[in-house]
């Protein structure tokens, strides 16, 4: 009844309270009861996932696929949500659903293979970002994210610049062009706009991809030379060189491999230090 606020029936609870009530029961539930509760959370948040998925239809991906990707984000949110922290479930879930859909689109639209080290760095940053979000209830600033990753803001900025910026930027540009209600800029966008090192992100990624491919090829050569089952003397005979020279070639290969790995994984500052040290050596 209007005006009667003495005892609000359960159906009148706001969605977040309902979600959180179920999530509280979910924390201690097992077996069929747990499965039933999980289904309830999913059913109650279908609308949330769909509404977020609709924002990404500009990508050209079928809406159903976007929704499916969104459900993965929802399930992750359900699994990782911490009731003790000061965040609404819907806020947290929206963040993860959106992230999962973006990730799905990026995977589908990637024209350049994202190097393994970038993917691994992405995962680490994403985890730190989500953990922070849960704790603080808002996305981290550069300084906050850097602190949680045990990096300096400068180091993190360098890392972020090398991330999957190319696909991200291209997708986001499309979205801004076609979306009448674009979402506010993300941490990455802000950082990238600030980045002033003179090297556009798409070029950086192209070069990183080339370096990674060369390093992989180098690794294959080294692997072949070391594990093909031939002794250094046999290799030397085949090549028409001494065993000592074979040994030198292998050492050089390992040195190059080591340097290549440093090159793709270190920050700009670290790389410069590494180069300086190797030149001195």
């Amino acid at each position: 009844m209007p005006g009667d606020s003495r005892a609000a029936p359960s159906w009148a609870l706001p969605p977040d309270a309902e979600n959180e009530e179920i999530l509280a029961r979910l924390a201690s539930a097992t077996g069929p009861e747990r499965a039933a509760l999980e289904e309830q959370v999913v059913a109650r948040n279908v609308g949330l996932v769909k509404s977020i998925a609709l924002r990404f239809t500009y990508s050209g991906e079928p809406l159903d696929d976007l929704i499916q990707a969104g459900y993965i984000g929802l399930l992750n949110a359900m699994a990782n949500f911490n009731l003790a922290r000061n965040t609404k479930f819907s806020t947290y879930a929206s963040h993860l659903v959106q992230g999962e859909i973006r990730h799905y689109i990026r995977d589908r639209h990637t024209t350049i293979r994202i190097p393994q080290w970038v993917q691994s760095m992405n995962r680490r940053i994403k985890e730190a970002e989500e953990a922070f979000f849960q704790d603080a209830g808002h996305p981290p600033t550069l300084e906050e994210l850097a602190r949680s990753l045990d990096l300096t803001p400068e180091q993190l900025a360098a890392v972020l610049r090398g991330r999957d910026a190319m696909t991200y930027v291209s997708i986001d540009r499309e979205r801004r062009a076609s979306d009448p209600n674009p979402t506010p800029p993300t941490l990455e966008e802000v950082l990238h706009d600030r980045a002033g090192d003179g090297m556009p992100h798409d070029l950086r990624l192209r070069i990183a991809a080339a370096i990674e491919r060369l390093a992989t090829l180098q690794q294959e050569v080294v692997h072949g030379l070391f594990y093909h089952g031939k002794s250094q003397s046999e290799l030397g005979e085949d090549l028409g060189i001494s065993q000592r020279q074979v040994s030198r070639i292998k050492e050089k290969a390992l040195d190059e491999l080591r340097e290549a790995l440093f090159l793709v994984s270190d920050t700009v500052e670290d790389r410069r230090r590494t180069n300086g040290a190797s030149h001195e050596a």
Binding site: I112, D197, G198, M199, P200, D202, L203, R204, R206, I207, A209, A210, I211, R213, L214, A215, T216, L217, Q218, E220, V221, V222, H223, G224, L225, H228, K230, L235, D238, L239, G240, I241, Q245, I249, K252, A253, E256, E259, A260, L263, V268, R271, R272, N275
Partner: protein
Amino acid sequence: MRHNRSMDGRERETQCDSVDLLTLIARALDQLRAAVDTLESHRPEAGAAHLAATIRQIDRYVDGMDDDPLLRLAPLETTTVRESLRSVRADLNAVVESIASRATRNSAVP
């Protein structure tokens, strides 16, 4: 530098020009490192020059890669290596073209 011992000293000299795969990769990585440094220092033309040098090295290697004994010893499929190097070349070429087109656009601005 390759260490091929040949029946003919002159021929060996020529072989040294057409490097082996490991040397090519080492040189290419050096060039790319230099390219990254120059591009980060707002010197796109110098960066493009490093990349173009790498492309030329790759082209030279691919032309003579059938003679690279390292491929037989490793042992790697020539076609796989060729494809991999072509991908690298394509990436680098795209960067060079992008730098060139940006330079053209900038020079067109009065």
